[in-house]
């Protein structure tokens, strides 16, 4: 049964190019104000079932927060309609609705009444809220003395203890410390078990991967993909790294060519796992096509241990374009002279179409190679250094 129905929802903001904020200007140019239209959300259809946990991924300005605010009923869609079943709680900003001069206790009651909860309802769950937020000794302090982590804890504690049928969360969890984040994830899991619906907006793909059953990616107001988290994350990541238009990436689901297996090996793989600085390694990529592909471009990216790319090249850049691929093939990539120091270096691989930029398939960080540095040098790159007196 549907929990949230987003039916052809679009949102266009009118930005006054010449703000007529004063009454005088209003009267002088009645109905003639100059506006520039900004389309934040193209018509979006989305149905979320009861008990689903859905992540919304997108960059700043992709429309993800606008969509969440439309679902929350804070913004009114320009076209279309949002329908929600049951009670909705939203956490759109840490401590939204908290008054700094009032105590935590007073703010809990005020915050809860924004959801239409009576004092008596709150009394019943008050201790749980305080326990969950771990603020027992601070609850009678004005919240202006709270840290941002404490703010988030209290806000989250109120929202989840109000027994919402639908919970909307926007980024806020990133603020708390790790222990509290884990606690929130735990609570979200409990919500999932109880069959409540959760929608959250985030940059953090790992949370989406761990928590969501479904993820959508928004780009410039378009819904690019609505799929299993791992697939959506792949599309989102590809856009992040390669800056390919996402609409092209969206067609991954019916891609004509996919990676079937990737192997990383090196000459001494039989005796040790790792490379020594300066050695080389080989990547073998098995691909399988459903339709022949004429102008594929293979891109290889090497990342540091934190996942940030440190090297990128593709077959076009190498001047060795790949030919037509048909059926099952294996692509071999040889990388020599890896002058890196210690670490495990994840690899990102992508296969795309040269003319349209469409991504056929993408593997992100699931393959890697290791380097062990026998010298006392530290850092990322291995240089040969000698020192002598002249």
């Amino acid at each position: 049964m549907e929990s949230i129905v987003v039916d052809g929802v679009s949102k266009t903001f009118r930005i006054a190019t010449d703000p007529a904020d004063s009454l005088k200007q209003r009267l002088l140019r009645f109905r003639r104000a100059n506006y520039e239209e900004f389309v934040a959300l193209r018509p979006i259809d989305l149905t979320i079932e009861i008990g689903e946990t859905v992540g919304i991924l997108g960059h700043n300005g992709s429309g993800k927060s606008t969509l969440l605010k439309c679902i929350a009923g804070i913004l009114t869609p320009t076209t279309g309609e949002v329908r929600v079943r049951g009670r909705l709680a939203s956490l759109l900003e840490l401590g939204a609705g908290f008054h700094p001069d009032l105590t935590g206790r007073e703010n809990v009651y005020i915050n809860a009444s924004f959801y239409g909860m009576s004092r008596r309802d709150v009394d019943k769950v008050f201790d749980e809220i305080v326990d969950f937020a771990e603020l027992a000794q601070f609850i009678d302090e004005p919240v202006k003395h709270y840290s941002s982590g404490m703010y988030v804890r209290l806000g989250f504690a109120v929202a989840v203890n109000l027994e919402p049928d639908v919970l909307l969360v926007d980024e806020v969890l990133a603020v708390g410390d790790e222990a509290f984040q884990n606690k929130c994830i735990g609570r979200i899991r409990q919500f999932q078990d109880e069959g409540r619906t959760i929608v959250f907006v985030t940059h953090d793909v790992e949370t989406v991967r761990h928590v969501c059953q479904r993820a959508i990616v928004l780009d410039h107001g378009h819904m690019v993909i609505d799929s299993h988290p791992s697939k959506s994350i792949r599309v989102f990541r590809e856009y992040l790294h390669a800056h390919t238009p996402l609409h092209a990436a969206a067609e991954l689901s019916d891609s004509p060519v996919l990676f079937t297996d990737v192997r990383v090996s090196h000459a001494n793989a039989g005796t040790r796992r790792h490379l020594l600085p300066g050695e080389g390694f080989t990547i073998e990529i098995d691909v399988e096509t459903t339709h022949p592909v004429d102008q594929p471009v293979l891109a290889v990216e090497v990342c540091d241990s934190a996942g940030a790319p440190i090297f990128r090249i593709d077959t076009d850049g190498l001047g060795t374009p790949l030919g037509r691929i048909e059926g099952r093939r294996t692509l071999r990539v040889d990388i020599s002279n890896v002058e890196l120091l210690d670490g495990e270096f994840p690899l990102n691989l992508s296969l795309s179409d040269r003319s349209t930029g469409r991504i056929f398939d993408w593997r992100e960080g699931s393959d890697s190679f290791e380097v062990a540095n026998p010298t006392k040098a530290t850092g990322l790159v291995a240089f040969d250094v000698t020192v002598k007196e002249q």
Partner: protein, 303 residues
């Protein structure tokens, strides 16, 4: 953590409801009714915050009428103007006007000052200007108590026959003010200098209402210019103020003389005027809520 009794059955039992749509006035009122707790909380918040760092707290509100009474008594004794128990006469209107002016000025900015709230949380926005009305009403109650004490101490005799007019007048004034508050708050979202205009309007309105001067003084001036004295009654605050004056000052003429100050009519005549104004105010309030509903659609993004 207690065992949750949540089942999907609960969500399944409710229906899919649109998140944003036009409401009828009745639906709007019903929704606001569901948020009365929020209204109470916001009112309490406003009062708590205002007096939080003052030692005397609410006592300040109560001291104000006492102080005003002393000032007016002294000033008019020195000037030799006014009439018997003039300060009590003046306070009848002045306390009510303080309520009107405070409400309108705080209501105007009630939405713009809570911009972050409006952009982040969903609730019926009309609660904000209504909380301004409620906050000012609490002040009026406190000041009325102080005024009553002063009246008791000075052994002033009110006219008990007319006293039921006082709560009726306050209810009527609340309805009038609520209607205006619900109109000006969203207007200020789209034109931020509404507050300045309203400042002037409130000042003009104050002098157009027989608070510092008696009703009949203005009547004479009006009639000398060929305008009926009843033209004054078009100002909704005129019947409200003279009803309170009639009850608390306790006489339609200057005490101890037969100089007419306000119409010498029965309690029913006054009540009928108040009833008529309350009826009009209700219509205006309904229209205001309807307008507010329209304005609410784009409120979050206009802020």
């Amino acid at each position: 953590m207690s065992e949750s009794v949540y089942t999907t059955a609960r969500a399944s039992a409710s229906e899919l409801r649109p998140m944003a749509r036009r409401r009828s006035v009745v639906e709007h009122l019903r929704e606001l009714g569901g948020y009365r707790e929020l209204l109470a909380n916001l009112t309490r918040k406003e009062l708590t915050v205002r007096y939080q760092h003052s030692m005397l707290g609410f006592t300040w509100s109560m001291l104000q009428p006492v102080f005003l009474l002393i000032v007016y008594t002294a000033v008019f004794a020195i000037l030799g103007a006014g009439f018997e128990k003039f300060s009590i006469w003046v306070l009848c209107g002045l306390l009510l006007w303080t309520f009107v002016a405070t409400t309108l000025l705080t209501a105007t900015t009630s939405i713009t000052e809570n911009a972050s709230l409006v952009g982040k949380v969903k609730f019926p926005r009309a609660v904000l200007p209504l909380a301004s009305v409620a906050g000012a009403l609490v002040h009026l109650a406190l000041q009325s108590i102080a005024f009553a004490v002063v009246l008791g101490v000075t052994r002033h005799r009110v006219d008990w026959v007319y006293m039921p007019l006082v709560p009726l007048a306050i209810v009527t004034a609340t309805l009038v003010v609520a209607g205006i508050a619900v109109i000006v708050a969203p207007v200020n979202v789209y034109a931020r200098d509404t507050g300045h205009l309203l400042d002037l309007l409130v000042l003009g309105w104050f002098w157009a209402t027989p608070i510092l001067y008696p009703f009949f003084l203005a009547s004479t001036t009006l009639e000398n210019n060929g305008i009926s004295r009843w033209a004054q009654m078009a100002n909704p605050f005129t019947p409200i103020v003279i009803s309170i004056q009639r009850a608390i000052y306790g006489s339609s003429t200057e005490i101890g003389t037969d100089v007419s100050l306000i119409p010498d009519e029965s309690v029913w005549w006054y009540a009928a005027w108040l009833g008529a104004i309350a009826a009009v105010a209700l219509v205006v309030l309904a229209a205001a809520l309807r307008l507010f509903d329209r304005a609410e659609v784009n409120m979050a993004e206009a802020l």
